[in-house]
Amino acid sequence: MKLKDTAKAFLYLFPALLIIGVFVIYPMIKSFLMSFYADYDFFNDVVYRYGLDNFIYLWNDEVFHQALRNTFIFVLGVVPISIILSLWIALMLNSITVLSKFFRTVYFIPFVTSVVAVSIVWRWIFHSNYGIMNYFLGLFGIDPIQWLTSTEWAMPALIILSIWKGLGYNIIIFLAGLQTIGDSYYNAARIDGANRWSRFIHVTLPQLAPTTFFITIISIINSFKVFDEIYALFDGQAGPSNSALTVVYYVFNKFYGEWDFGVASAAAYVLFLIIFIFTLIQFYISKKKITY
């Protein structure tokens, strides 16, 4: 009976497994092996020698180090601000009743719009002469900023775009989380004389912890994998002087540009390891801290 159930379950899962197997599992194994190709003929699948050469190359490659640095800056820039901002907006949306659906839609639009279209619009927004961003800043007496053509501002521009883009998704998840918090908690807090701020700190935040945890993990993973935004925002470049070069962009360049397939796979696996470690740490913390 057990065997029969398992077989039946497998039958149901088979289509999904087939797709995952072909498009996820196989590439994962293949690129893992490829990261150890030291001497090979890519097109005929002949490997003359396996080795750690690709990883040693990455260890010594300044460009890869820069890509790593940029990626960390990007993650640090996007994730905290995005979470705080979206929580704040979600709280406001949760408390208004009029037009809340309308606003929810408005905030969600960036998420469902194609990255390329969004980036093209933002290229105009960031335009130093004709952009609305500098026009806005100009109203406050701030000199025009070379958003897209200076090494200092390219990364902030990218971060702003990415925060805006991810906002909608985070807000929806937060809203769902807020809705699960029972009124009884708030009422109890009110009876105890808790003001708005205390209610937020002692009721909302702890109750939202699992949601926040989920969003943090997703945001961090997504931010580590950033690519499309850069490609579109800087017109097929990684920003002036590689100032917006991230690890995925590096992988892309190595693979498609330089035909350095081994190094590209190795870099992809380094990124995978980093994300993996971060996720483990988060799970560890969440076990300790989230008690609900």
Binding site: D41, F42, F43, V63, V106, I109, T113, S114, V116, A117, V118, I120, V121, R123, W124, F126, H127, S128, I132, Q146, W147, L148, T149, S150, T151, D235, G236, Q237, P240, S241, N242, N253, Y256, G257, E258, W259
Partner: protein, 444 residues
């Protein structure tokens, strides 16, 4: 704030709509297999009907011409059907060709830069055309292979192998705003000094616009070979794989560009992507760009008076010739290869190469065509087309070494520090040359 978000929303929607309609255009046109091929053969070399798949990256007017020419070819050749497949941009095309090569599903022929062909050759992915060119079905006597301009033949010659035939070839030319030049008593610059002077003169307020004299396209890293050659230097020794531009000439070239950028008489295309935008808006007085941009400038110029002129001379005259060739993949049958070769020859017959050039701003690839009455009378009437035609005598082609992509990338990264930050030309030159050499050595 609400207005802003509304504006944003409208902008986004319009971009989306534009994007969608574009892509549907592309998919409409990507499938262009036509004529039936069931009748018996007339041409002796191909007895069985064959289908030739051609991957290209042409869009707009360029694609339209290609479709018409291909339909005509298919009609004239009973047994050969050429199927055009639009693969998007050159970047997309390159990626898809790589993937197809790995999957052993390469098309019969595709557009390719000489730089890509280096990689294909190294991995034995492409066919040497020399036997076909010299064979009995080679070029007819009145439109011989040797009639193709030397600079284009060189671009396809790798040692004793010929790995492609030229198709859409362009040169770099100087676009200038005629009205600005005439109003300020300027003539089109013929030397670097005149270029600098004109840039200085034109950098001022004209009709309430803050005009900047000179413009550079963004990929200045790839254009650098031109500036260095013009300064009398050498770029890279292709045989030895040695970077040669860390020289006085190299320094002069960088200093020339840097001085203009720093004193504000020149600007980069920067966030505008291509210079044709700012140029047709009247924001810059002149710029150096691809002759294939003529079609784009013409489209946006409106009633603005403009033309092109040959590249100004530094110590020497030098003009790069660029654009893609058509290369043939080894993963095809002999019959397909024979059919494809017919088609490749067809695209650059004297009549077709001229017709193509007239439509697009690319250059005729045959000497007889460049000097023929059809073309010369056309450029007489259409001034912007003249400059490119004048530059064959001192034309040169890009470096085609393994590692070229990495080299150009590394150079651009260092050059950006000078263009957008404050790195000095001397430091930039030093860094560029060592990074470029590293990239070439890495690929050896």
């Amino acid at each position: 704030m609400k207005k802003l978000s509304l504006l944003l929303f409208i902008m986004m929607v319009s971009v989306l709509i534009a994007a969608c309609s574009n892509s549907s255009n592309e998919s409409d046109t990507s499938n262009n297999s036509a004529t039936d091929t069931k009748e018996t053969a007339e041409t002796p070399e191909t007895t069985e009907p064959v289908e030739v798949e051609f991957w290209h990256a042409m869009s707009d007017t360029h694609e339209k011409w290609l479709e018409d020419a291909t339909a005509k070819f298919n009609e004239e050749h009973e047994n050969i059907t050429v199927k055009l497949v639009n693969q998007g941009s050159y970047g997309d095309l390159s990626q898809k060709l790589l993937a197809a090569a790995k999957a052993k599903t390469s098309p019969t022929i595709a557009q390719a830069y000489a730089e890509w062909m280096t990689d294909y050759d190294q991995n034995n992915l492409v066919v040497d055309l020399a036997p076909m060119i010299n064979g009995e079905n080679g070029f007819p006597a009145d439109q011989s292979y040797e009639d193709i301009s030397e600079v284009f033949r060189d671009d396809n010659t790798f040692g004793d192998k010929i790995l492609g035939l030229p198709f859409n070839k362009s040169s770099r030319v100087l676009f200038y705003n005629k009205t600005y030049f005439e109003d300020n008593g300027l003539t089109p610059p013929t030397t670097w000094d005149e270029l600098a002077t004109a840039a200085t003169t034109l950098t001022k307020e004209i009709d309430g616009k803050n005009v900047i004299g000179m413009g550079f396209e963004n990929g200045l890293g790839t254009e650098l070979s031109m500036w260095i050659e013009q300064a009398g230097g050498d770029f890279v020794d292709e045989k030895e794989g040695k970077v040669l531009f860390n020289s006085e000439a190299g320094l002069n070239a960088l200093t020339f560009i840097d001085t203009m950028l720093k004193d504000g008489t020149a600007r980069m295309a920067g966030e505008d992507g291509y210079m044709s935008g700012p140029f047709t808006r009247g924001d810059v007085g002149m710029y150096i760009g691809s002759s294939a941009g003529i079609a784009y400038v013409a489209k946006d110029a409106g009633d603005m008076q403009w033309s092109t002129t040959p590249l100004p001379k530094g110590v020497e005259q030098a003009a790069p010739f660029q654009g893609t060739n058509i290369t043939m993949f080894a993963n095809s049958t002999e019959a397909e290869q024979a059919g494809a070769f017919e088609y490749m020859k067809y695209l650059i017959t004297p009549e077709n190469t001229v017709d193509w050039a007239k439509t697009t701003g690319y250059l005729p690839v045959r000497e007889s065509a460049q000097q023929g009455a059809d073309w010369t009378s056309f450029i007489e009437e259409n001034e912007p087309f003249q400059a490119g035609n004048a530059q064959y005598a001192y034309g040169f082609i890009d470096v085609r070494l393994p590692g070229s992509f990495a080299m150009k990338n590394a150079m651009q990264v260092e050059l950006d520090k000078m263009l957008y930050e404050n790195a000095t030309p001397a430091d930039t030159l030093e860094a560029m040359s060592s990074k470029a050499q590293e990239a070439l050595d890495q690929a050896k």
